[in-house]
Symmetry: none
Subunit: 380 residues, 2 copies
DNA sequence: CCTTCACATGAATCGACCT
DNA sequence: AAGGTCGATTCATGTGAAG
């Protein structure tokens, strides 16, 4: 995989080799097209690889040598091995273009997902969740010989085990789920009706078109507006259409002319949502940090003020330097809160209270006031 | 494992070395104990192998209590390679004792299930279904860093690709599911309360005891009365207890003295059902909860839609992630409803309305529509 | 006796930032 | 690079005491 062979494809400017690679569909095989993209440049990858082991087309080993097409004459072991080689090849190429804190989503069924999951673990990806897409209207099992196959499986993984700063819009997901945290099982209908793209004959244009709602949940949970979403098995461009609508960039890779044509047309027709609608519900983690000392400095809390816990079991006094004291013991609101309770840790903002008339108010309320004043002083 | 060593057995006489092997717990390592059983003698295998959990340090709840995690020695493996070797060893030994038309069930989480699935495919097992156990009461994700891990995965496989005469009680499953085919996603609570076995100190006797309802569905779906159910990771004997109650034979393999003792006692106390018709107690069929976001995702409410209260005093608009916004303030329909009224809580479903012509319609009506569309899903 | 509240707990790969 | 500090974070259910 020599870098020398990398050339600009579908390039609209002449200058930089990688310029203008966003919001485009690259036509070609996913492994070779991935090799042309700049390294560590993509925030999220969504991949819907072939499920079937009887692949008609090209299979590449990790060294890019070609595997002969799988047919029924091949024994089982060989065909699994061929699928694994194909899987590891694209997973490896995808990992190169993923940012260190980027994440990968793969969808599959029991035919392939166990092989995909094991392969990505072998390559160093670190699984964050497996997520189940429960289909509200799955196809029945016609022969009555098995359970109705009513779900597909998604794997969500970070590039590395130690990557801790991946994007997960926890608060947005929680708010979207009636204020309880989003679970690993999601219910969506399959893609049908007017959403399902048809060709001239009225037949479905693509055999495995995914519902836009599924892609929306994926993109909203694990990316921010302006991020780049890559789909190496683009098909008719569901990922691109949803990414564009949600204010993200997309990159699609697809081999078939016809799918590329349909996807382009589809995405061109998409109207992006406004920034207002797209802003992500942010939790406390995203808010600016306000040290307790600055509340004292700004006069929101006077030195000497008495602090107590909600049940008035413990008392402390505010000192001019922003520490608080119990007896001779002085330290931060967190340290002292932990110490009086005999705990290792404590969030002093929610533990300590000030008197307001007969009632108590957590000092976290004062922090909110301080933050509001900061907003006025220095608007973003 | 050479084919030459396999002999026709299934011995019914006293002389044979394998006589009297049913309804017993074999104490020892699963691979060596499996080797002592007659070949092709077991109808169903249920296996709950170690999950290979990779825990960091301690995990604290928001209230600072410590989570009692699985850190037992039997769940520690050096590497993926070591885990794979262990997995293939027991899967191979298990395959020898399985009848040609017997089936295997394995349960796992994302930590191990992809490796187990790929391994069993490599060994010649043929996957019939993957089944998702949706937990009605899973442990939360305490740090808000991922989706709540709310399910585990089961794989159901036949011994060979060509085995067509495995047992699947299609009609019984359909009858147990309100006369529609049983789906591949099952809803059960985790094992707790009086069903959870405790030791002398009142602590849980086994860290990963499975609910009997889960085993009952497995056994009822894929075996007949009188069949032999083998569990190579017997633990405290849930498989044996349920098999006995349902009129099946069991064989358990377990290493730990203490688990063997508890399991024996437990199974001895089980009274087999005499009823010809064995039915699972129908699970709860509560109304499915519909998050507001799913209305946006499904297109029932467009992003940007204006919401008002019944008297049109307050206005909010819908965002793409299913939160709603008033000015810069965005959160769930409930939170924003509470905030504009200056209340602590609010039922957003009845508070907020959308325009329908000149009139207003509570969004609760839209929820009803969404539920009706979802009824097809028929939760277990 | 009923309601309410406090508390316990379950297969978990569960930070970010500054010095 | 390692270490210290700040400070964010939970849902369903069962049990048992309190009112």
């Amino acid at each position: 995989m020599s870098m020398k062979r990398i050339r600009p494809v579908l390039v609209h400017t002449q200058e930089a080799p990688h310029s203008g690679w966003k919001d485009k569909i690259l036509q070609g095989h996913c492994v070779s097209e991935l090799a042309k993209l700049p390294p560590a440049s993509v925030d999220v990858i969504f991949a819907d690889p072939p499920y079937n082991l009887q692949l008609g087309g090209d299979l590449l080993r990790p060294d890019h040598s070609r595997v002969d097409a799988v047919d029924d004459a091949w024994d089982q072991f060989e065909s699994f091995e061929a699928y694994d080689a194909f899987t590891k090849a694209w997973l490896l190429a995808a990992r190169r273009v993923l940012k260190p804190n980027g994440t990968l989503w793969v969808i599959g069924s029991y035919h392939n997902i166990f092989r995909v999951g094991a392969s990505l673990q072998d390559l160093g990806y670190w699984i964050l969740n497996d997520v189940v897409w429960r289909k509200s209207n799955p196809m029945p099992n016609f022969r009555g010989r098995r359970f109705q196959n009513a779900h597909e499986t998604l794997i969500w993984a970070s590039r590395d085990k130690d990557a801790k700063s991946y994007t997960f819009n926890y608060e947005a997901m929680k708010a979207a789920n009636d204020d309880v945290q989003m679970r690993s099982d999601w219910l969506f209908p399959i893609c049908s009706g007017s959403e399902r793209l048809k060709d001239e004959d009225g037949c479905k244009a693509h055999p495995t078109q995914k519902p836009e709602a599924l892609l929306a949940r994926i993109i909203l949970s694990s990316s921010k507006p302006g991020d780049v979403i890559l789909d190496p098995f683009f098909g008719t461009g569901t990922t691109g259409a949803v990414a564009k609508r949600l204010g993200r960039h997309f990159v699609g890779i697809e081999r078939e002319d016809e799918y590329v044509r349909i996807a382009k047309e589809r995405i061109d027709a998409v109207e992006p949502l406004t920034d207002e609608v797209l802003r992500i519900a942010a939790g406390k983690r995203a808010e600016p940090r306000v040290p307790f000392a600055s509340l004292v400095e700004s006069g929101l809390v006077a030195p000497g003020t008495e602090l107590t816990d909600a049940k008035r079991r413990y008392r402390a006094y505010v000192r001019a330097d922003g520490t608080i004291a119990v007896g001779d013991d002085a330290a931060s609101i967190h340290r002292i809160g932990a110490r009086v309770q005999g705990l290792d840790a404590c969030n002093g903002w929610t533990f300590w209270h000030v008197k307001r008339g007969k009632d108590l108010m957590p000092i976290d309320e004062l922090r909110r006031t301080a933050r509001e004043r900061m907003q006025v002083a220095a608007p973003a």
